[in-house]
């Protein structure tokens, strides 16, 4: 296979050289790349793509990747190996004379590249590439691509690609002035089946020359799509809510331990989250410099480390400060506020005040389409992760003696001691656990938010809100609280806007607490009512 392709390429090269002397449209187009004008580049792309020259794909791909160089009026392609070839002749070019500069790109040029590559790669052996190409043609609605499309559809066997090709054709036909109405009606049909935002856009923006029957059909189809989209919109909003709720849950769940269970008003909680995020950053830095291959696993590696880092800091804090403050919850507020200032400034001093870059592994990029909903993988990952952390924590607190001891210690420290519970160790472990969980929340949050010294502050108020709204001392309350607030926020936002939505939510919390003065999952019974 490879041998064959090499051979083919050599052959084509020869062919190209032969044609060089003829100075066809390809050769005429090439010099336009050298003018450093986007309009010229745009035109050159079109011409090169239309030329049918076997080097066209190479040239355009090189252009896309910044490997198309110009110098002294000539155009060169830099191969991945570093070799230069002359774009006009396809011959290797040893020592370039003078300085070479890459041809510059802008969005207009990028779009042109995409469209050109789209029609040129419709027959690519790789199905993913073909799909990509079909989408590109769909976006460009380039009438010139129609013949290539027809040809591709004829031989396409892969269903998703075929569908994509057909919608692309439909899009072109709809805007093509001289297409027969029957074809246009079929196109409307195809788009109605596709039934998404883009189809809707096409159907509701028919060109002025569209025949009336097509306009009517398109109008009906558009209405249908609108209804469907509106239906899915509700789910989409709920999903946004769940994913926001998961973020809140992650941020709050550690606090559910240190505050909810241990009654420490832990103002430094957000900084524990921040430490987790910075750990992720460090891990990725190390991986980038020493083991680039592991990047995909960087978050998984960061998780235990973040737990350890934040957990150890938590234990250290507990042993040096918090432990002197049990039974005086309001003083923990004062001390942990001080600690949070110190941690923030510490990180600022060490890592600088600006954001740090945490990358997203490839497996977390992209989106999953469910119906007309789009679920991005990174949000899915965060939702799954948040629920897992919750489940594990619930198990730890319910099925290990640590959970029991922590509660006993917070309810009556002296008596717990007299029952033989090692109060100091339980305190340290529990605070460490809460902080550690905050740390792993930081790993997740590094994916969607700033990794900066201010990271924690952005979450501290929301976290307290969630824990208190759910009912202090109840892990389930934290879960339900986070989800309720997340979903309510996202259902309000489309109507009220982000600012008013948030205000409305805060007022709703205030009102809700009037109805349930001890939160959603209130503790009941003699003790609390006393």
């Amino acid at each position: 296979m490879i041998v064959l392709r090499k051979f083919l390429r050599a052959f084509l090269l020869l062919l190209g050289m032969a044609s060089a002397a003829l100075a066809g449209p390809y050769e005429e187009a090439l010099p336009r790349f050298t003018s450093d004008s986007y309009a010229d580049t745009d035109a050159a792309i079109g011409a090169v793509a239309a030329s049918g020259n076997p080097l066209a794909v190479d040239v355009i791909e090189a252009l896309r990747d910044g490997r198309l160089l110009v110098g002294s009026g000539q155009v060169f392609i830099r191969r991945a190996s570093g070799d230069l070839i002359n774009a006009a002749t396809g011959q290797a070019w040893g020592n370039p004379a003078g300085e070479l500069k890459p041809v510059r790109l802008n969005n207009r040029v990028r779009r042109a590249i995409e469209a050109a590559l789209g029609s040129l790669t419709l027959l690519n052996p790789d199905a993913a590439k073909r799909l990509e190409a079909a989408r590109a043609v769909f976006r460009s609605r380039d009438e010139a691509a129609l013949p290539a499309l027809e040809k591709a559809i004829a031989q396409e066997s892969h269903v998703p690609v075929r569908n994509a090709l057909e919608t692309a054709r439909a899009a072109i036909l709809l805007s093509k002035q001289d297409a027969p109405p029957t074809q246009k009606l079929t196109a409307v049909q195809t788009l109605r089946d596709r039934s998404d935002q883009e189809a809707l856009a096409l159907l509701s923006n028919l060109p002025a020359h569209a025949p009336p029957e097509v306009v009517a059909a398109a109008g009906k189809a558009a209405d249908g799509i609108r209804a469907r989209l509106a239906f899915w919109q509700a789910f989409q909003n709920v999903w946004y809510g769940i994913s926001l709720g998961s973020v809140l849950l992650l941020a709050a769940i550690g606090l559910a331990i240190t505050f909810g269970t241990m009654s420490v008003i832990n103002m430094a909680h957000g900084e524990m989250v921040m430490l987790g995020a910075y750990t992720t950053f460090m891990v990725q830095e190390l991986i980038r410099s020493y083991f680039p291959g592991l990047f995909g696993a960087s978050l998984l590696i960061a998780l235990p480390l973040a737990f350890l880092v934040a957990g150890s800091v938590g234990v250290l804090l507990e042993r040096t400060v918090i432990r002197f403050l049990y039974g005086r919850p309001l003083e923990t507020l004062l001390a942990t506020w001080g600690i949070s200032l110190i941690l923030q400034q510490g990180v600022r001093t060490i890592f600088g005040p600006t954001n740090r870059e945490v990358g997203t592994p490839a497996w977390m990029s992209g989106a999953l389409d469910v119906g007309a909903m789009s679920l991005t993988y990174n949000r899915i990952a965060i939702v799954v992760f948040a629920f897992s952390v919750f489940a594990i924590l619930l198990l730890v607190l319910r099925y290990t003696s640590l959970g029991l001891y922590v509660r006993a210690v917070t309810q009556n420290r002296r008596m717990a001691g007299s029952m033989g519970i090692r109060t100091s160790r339980v305190d340290a472990l529990a605070f460490g656990l809460g902080s550690g969980v905050a740390g792993i929340a930081g790993v997740a949050l590094s994916q969607i938010d700033n990794v900066s010294p201010n990271l924690g502050q952005g979450y501290i108020i929301d976290s307290f809100m969630v824990v208190v709204f759910g009912g202090v001392g109840n892990l389930w309350g934290t879960l339900v609280g986070a989800m309720t607030l997340g979903i309510a926020n996202k259902l309000l936002e489309p109507y009220a806007g982000a600012v008013l939505g948030k205000i409305a939510l805060l007022i709703a919390i205030i009102v809700f607490i009037q109805r349930r003065p001890r939160g959603l999952f209130a503790l009941k019974g003699r003790v609390v009512e006393a």
Partner: protein
């Protein structure tokens, strides 16, 4: 709590210090020649005035938190509302001296194309009305908010968190330009107050003295409140709310009364603050600000009134000093201070001083003195 004896001594001490400040600051600023070591430079007058206003705010928090156990994490809201009421008055006083020379509309309205003054701006050009609003707006908010919350028996952290939600919501609301209160920039560029130029040194001195007097008045008021039977009920509510109910006290009325009073004090503090710092904007509603006030009180000593004043002065002076002396490291110093105070002065600076005092004075009057009580950790 404190014996009657200590109580009087503290009051006398606080009042004499405040009186000394009210006399010495103008004297050292105006009478002592600039070269002298005793001269108080011009820029320190509004700075001290600002501290005094913040001390009044701290006092208002101590009244409800220290004596009634109501931890408000939203008291900055009342302060800011008082400040806005004053700011609106000051804004109206600018008149046609604004950038766009509109005789009625403040600048920020002109350039965002407002055509007329929103209804709630009316009346603020008249000082007595504005002064009334300084008391009424925070007071009414506290009354309504408190009425619902206390009636529903929202207590402890639940109350703290909804006060925080309140100030947070107000912050977001005031940030909105559509509120008609200057959005993020707030109200600024004031020219005169009651006809006196706000920038003038003499106005500054007068404002300072006024703030000190108001602080002294606020302190006396709080002293009187907590010293009365009413104050004892407050402490009873703080320590055993439901028991107080069984004795036949309407706990919610007590809480409401003291909460509203405290909010009004905070409002007055805000109103005095604004002309001295020259700006009021929504960041005063930031939850962190309200938390900080609580921290001043804790540093000074909760439940001592004088401690609140001391804490506010100390922390804020510390901030001023640290941010200039150690601009890159001051947060370490401030954070460290908070940790230090909690660990080594569990009842705040004044509490620690009180312990020392009691310990030394007990040696003199061993038998009769009240025994100290360190609450056992539970």
């Amino acid at each position: 709590m404190r014996t009657q004896y200590l109580f009087d001594r503290q009051t006398v001490l606080v009042l004499s210090i405040l009186a000394a400040a009210a006399i010495l600051v103008p004297a050292m600023n105006g009478l002592v020649p600039p070269g002298s070591a005793l001269h108080l430079s011009d820029h320190l007058v509004p700075l001290l005035g600002k501290y005094v206003c913040l001390a009044l705010l701290a006092l208002s928090v101590d009244l409800i938190w220290g004596f009634c156990g109501i931890l408000s994490l939203g008291h900055g809201a009342f302060f800011a509302l008082g400040g806005y009421a004053m700011g609106m008055y000051l804004m109206r006083q600018i008149g046609p001296r604004g950038a766009y020379a509109d005789p009625i509309l403040p600048d920020f309205m002109v350039f965002l194309n407002w055509k007329e003054l929103p209804w709630f701006w009316h009346g603020f050009d008249w000082f007595p009305f504005a002064a009334l609003m300084v008391l009424l707006v925070p007071g009414a908010l506290a009354l309504v908010f408190g009425w619902f919350a206390f009636r529903s028996r929202v207590t402890g952290v639940y109350f703290s968190i909804i006060t925080q939600a309140m100030t947070f919501a107000l912050m977001l609301a005031f940030f909105r330009n559509d509120m008609g209160l200057g959005g993020n920039n707030g109200l600024t560029d004031f020219k005169e107050v009651l006809g006196f130029p706000v920038q003038a040194g003499s106005t500054r001195v007068v404002l300072f003295v006024l703030s000190v007097l108001v602080l002294a008045g606020g302190y006396l008021l709080c002293r009187w409140v907590v010293g009365s039977t009413f104050g004892k009920v407050l402490v009873a509510v703080r320590d055993a709310e439901s028991r107080t109910r069984f004795l036949g006290y309407r706990v919610e009325h007590y809480k409401l009364a003291v909460f509203t009073l405290s909010a009004m004090l905070a409002g007055v503090a805000g109103a005095l603050y604004v002309p001295q710092v020259g700006i009021i904007n929504p960041s005063e509603f930031a939850p962190a600000n309200s938390i900080e006030v609580v921290i001043w009180v804790a540093v000074g000593g909760r439940g001592t009134l004088a401690g609140a004043i001391l804490g506010a002065l100390l922390v804020n002076a510390g901030k001023t000093w640290f941010t200039a002396a150690l601009p890159e490291f001051w947060l370490f110093a401030l954070g460290g201070l908070f940790v230090f105070v909690t660990l080594f002065m569990p009842r705040g600076i004044l509490g620690a001083a009180g312990d020392l005092w009691e310990r030394s004075s007990r040696r003199l009057r061993t038998r009769r003195s009240p025994q100290p009580f360190t609450q056992a950790a539970e």
